[in-house]
Symmetry: D2
Subunit: 343 residues, 4 copies
């Protein structure tokens, strides 16, 4: 961390700052320039509050040199984290995991039908919404508990582990048999929820907030990791930009960028990002070519009548053709993976 | 709501859509153009899911004519909502309410000292953080329960009602004697929390999400209102933009804009928005001149040592001078208020 | 175009509006709802100024149904535009064209050396900056005229056509032998320049503005097309977002989106977008898998000493390996192209 | 400038860097930490290309300590710049200058009529568009040369100096008698234009780019100043955000922020920013209370029929009432100005 002092700092205040820094377990190395003095703080600065230092009259600016996240940082954990979902399934380490299913669970027939179809196409995890965060209180909010029951019936029928969204820590008992707890973009900084998830050992699929930077996102992952739960999967679902043709803008740069910054697996959700099923195949191919650890794709047997997020779903037939193409792309690109981790 | 059909829509699908719309309590009026057909939906369309209709093969686009929020909408509630806080204090209706206090509660002396000072300067509500949402799990998270106790001690000592942040619905019992429950920007779309707050009658100060539009924000207010709690106060605290000199960019256009769109009171938080105490006086004057119903200003008796958000706090002396100026500006501008509600 | 009137519109003003609309060569079809009246304008509305209509007291909102661009619109020009560069080279129609070269031209040896290298790897167009738009007046602004001379020497030596940036219409005579005129992101809405380019028949590579929507961008293309020059190539180079790890955020959704909206070819510039050469290979693969018509890649024989934009360049060796991979991905994905044009 | 090296930097490359830095007229002071080495560059670093250094293999990041603009920087020019427009008129130094007039010049009657009206209300400069940058090639592009002639007729009739937009350096001869050359937001980084304006002594009103940071903006001002023209006026006209209710979001924090960063005068354009005339009075009052040096307000004698940007114009009657209020606010706030310059 670097502290840039204003010109001609007050002597007493400077001494106070120096003394306080000495109590913070960091070494201070000053650089004296013509106009300005700079303090280099050396050591573990993650717990030092840069805004507190900025507050001082004598300080012009504070800049972090190292990332404020530790457990999520590849620097300190060079090997890829592979999150084990069940005896047969895991996410991370370079394999391409397909997570597929409808936006919302609607009926037992629907969810089991889709589960069987996507399994046949190569998906190894079933997704489906039971509790749905909706912008409007008047929109369909999901089947709730009954939706969870139907997802577990589909797991029973097909053997596929289940990924579904949790909205509040008080729901944890209901999610006991769910395999992956999804935290939605709007809850990425619901720190109460993150802290509770950190106390479990459940795999958590942490969606990126709509306007979050990589650092914001990794700090939210850090909340879960710091609590003792190492099973965090990052999921890019598009960020808000000025473009309105797509619902959000999918940021595929995050794949190589996060591979350099963190050891956690990275899953891409092209369905939610684009909000248009016509764009999903190309974006899925792009994400696969860029080296994503997994894809979260909405598949519906009747997109026109999906209760929510319908426009972004694919039919099982389109998904089947797409999956074949994705595995072919991964065959072409698969060996590149190790190259791109920035040492 | 307007549904724009693609050229040459399939006849059967069009009939299906027409039939479904007829079950939705809206009147459908078609307009047939050279190339395209447009359906006008007339009636209460708030509960119609526009994304569901967009999903249909025959639909090119769906555009809303009327706002999807009803209880928050000035169209249906022309009179200003005045939220009563206690027997002496309210927010809304054109008065300028000053809510002041430290970012974090630190000690009994600190909070009572500041409460007395800001009361003398004209503030009628005390703010102070007990539970703090922090980006990093390693930063100070507030005094918690003890902080609540100290706030109540300051209320006892000064008579000022208290505004402080709630982070999770499970905390509601702890907040029983708190007068205004603040919902932070990061929780603006924590719908579980909003639903629970809708079941109470507590005044809720709902901060705008970092990247929320007015409509997103009003839809979150609608969650609380729809639950049965009419006591919602909107609080602008800056939005994320590309500018990095300020922490966030304060959007003062929201004052006249929201006055046209909604009947709810609008409070401005220049301290958190700018993240720089040097900017707070000018922004406070600007917000007052533009007609804000209240200001939320951080005041600290020792800004350099504030545990969090220090750089944005003012000393009681600066606050006192500022408050005088604000009341003088309101005297000059006060009579304009009625003009600017767009009929 | 749809005009939504306020409740109870003034009769005289409504008649005035109706009369004016009748002079604008559009048919007006009114829809009368419970609370509001809506006017549907049918016909060619591209030249109707929606802001002018919004200005009227009796109008609540105006919404466009059809895109305001005509010549760039795939609806009216269903076939792909293939821009012919020279007898051997073209861009568009599904082939993958590699445009490669250094950020800045520095010497004859440098530019000819790189040109020969990238040609061997499969690039068919040489890029290189002679006039450089730089944020700071104190940064290197390119070799200028001498840079153009060196680019033409490289063309002479290798036969590769040249793509380089023009900054002002007054430079047109200097660019006479240049094959593709690049318009930079900062000049995307330099309408004086666009109009002059519309008077030529030169291929123009139009970069997307840093915060432009697809529609803004296509409207800028429309300026050139409307002037009579059909040879426009769109180039995505990243948009400004809140992320700071990458210089800009590459928006690969634009590939399938623009393929639906326009017939113009789409080239992706992963080098400038990311600002980090380590990300370029993965982003290039992603763009290829998503169906880009071409890639604009910075290649330098000594990235560490490149005078500008160095961090984003690849060495010829890395480019050679990458190009092989890109052609292999295109072989796997190539046949998908026709599927994804949304009918 | 601070250069953060990667762990275990290559010895030869480090020596090369050190040697190169020694040729750049800066002193290098290294700080050696446990894991990383940091180089502090001391001296005039404005001409050092931070991206070039970032390109080096051994460098992790480069951070600027001081601003890259010099002539625009208040640090080196502590006194306010007051731009003299004519013998009676100037902008800057704490006075409130009102610049008013129509979006587009339409006729001699119109422009003289408005000029007389706004002069009576206290405006001292007339604005009006002759050349209009329009997103669509099919929209009205202004009266051009004839518009300039009419503006000069209004100057002749009223004595008011004229502010109007220049779109290209080739237009300079036409603007010889114009008093203030306005550079539009879309041309803020048209460096060819900025360089030519730097060669004149004309007052330039430089609008902020739609997504520009303060630093981007000040760097564009620096282009003009570095060319030898000290007469630059900054004009905030709103930035692009996710909000769609307003055309852009007016950033009033720029008033106190720029007052600290630069000595150049700051003018606010609430008309263009909001795109809604109903919001202009409140935003004008806010800008005045925050200490703006001037306001650029659109006034039209028949807003409903303005050819462009109509919805944002005020009538002369509304402007007259508003101007009185603005001068009253300035009386209340005027003495604060000196306080808020951050020493």
């Amino acid at each position: 961390m670097i502290v840039i002092l204003k010109e001609h700092p007050d002597r007493v205040q400077l001494d106070n700052l120096m003394n306080w820094l000495n109590t913070q377990d960091v070494m201070v190395q000053p650089t004296v320039g013509e106009h300005q003095m700079i303090l280099g703080l050396i050591g573990d600065t993650a717990s030092i509050d840069d805004e507190l230092i900025s507050a001082l009259d004598i300080v012009e600016a504070v800049k972090r040199v190292s990332e404020p996240y530790k457990k999520a940082n590849r620097k300190f954990h060079p090997d890829d984290t592979i999150v084990r979902i069940d005896d047969h399934t895991s996410i991370g380490g370079g394999a391409l995991t397909l997570i597929a299913g409808p936006c919302s669970v609607e009926s037992e027939d629907q969810i089991i039908g889709i589960a069987e179809a996507v399994k046949k196409s190569g998906a190894t995890i079933l997704r489906g919404g039971a509790f749905k965060p909706r912008t409007s209180p008047y929109s369909f909010q999901g089947m709730g508990l009954e939706g969870i029951r139907l997802l577990l019936a589909a797991k029973e029928a097909t053997g596929l582990p289940i990924c579904t969204e949790i909205m509040d820590a008080s729901q944890l008992p209901i999610f006991e048999d769910i395999d992956i707890l999804q935290v939605g973009a709007r809850n990425m900084q619901n720190f109460s929820l993150l802290k509770e998830l950190g106390k479990t050992q459940k795999p958590v699929l942490l969606k990126r907030g709509m306007s979050a930077t990589y650092q914001d996102w990794l700090m939210s992952a850090e909340y879960i990791l710091a609590g003792g739960n190492p099973n965090v999967i990052l999921c890019e679902r598009g960020i808000r930009t000025f473009e309105t043709y797509t619902r959000n803008t999918l940021d595929l740069s995050c794949i190589p960028a996060l591979r350099a910054l963190t050891h956690l697996p990275i899953v891409i959700d092209p369905s939610h990002a684009s909000g248009r099923s016509a764009l999903v195949p190309d974006l899925s191919k792009a994400a696969t070519a860029a080296g994503a650890d997994g894809l979260l794709i909405e598949v519906h047997n009747d997109p026109a009548h999906a209760r929510c997020d319908g426009p972004q779903s694919l039919t099982p037939e389109v998904f089947d053709r797409l999956a074949k193409k994705l595995f072919a792309i991964r065959d072409v690109c698969g060996d590149d993976r190790r190259d791109v981790i920035i040492k």
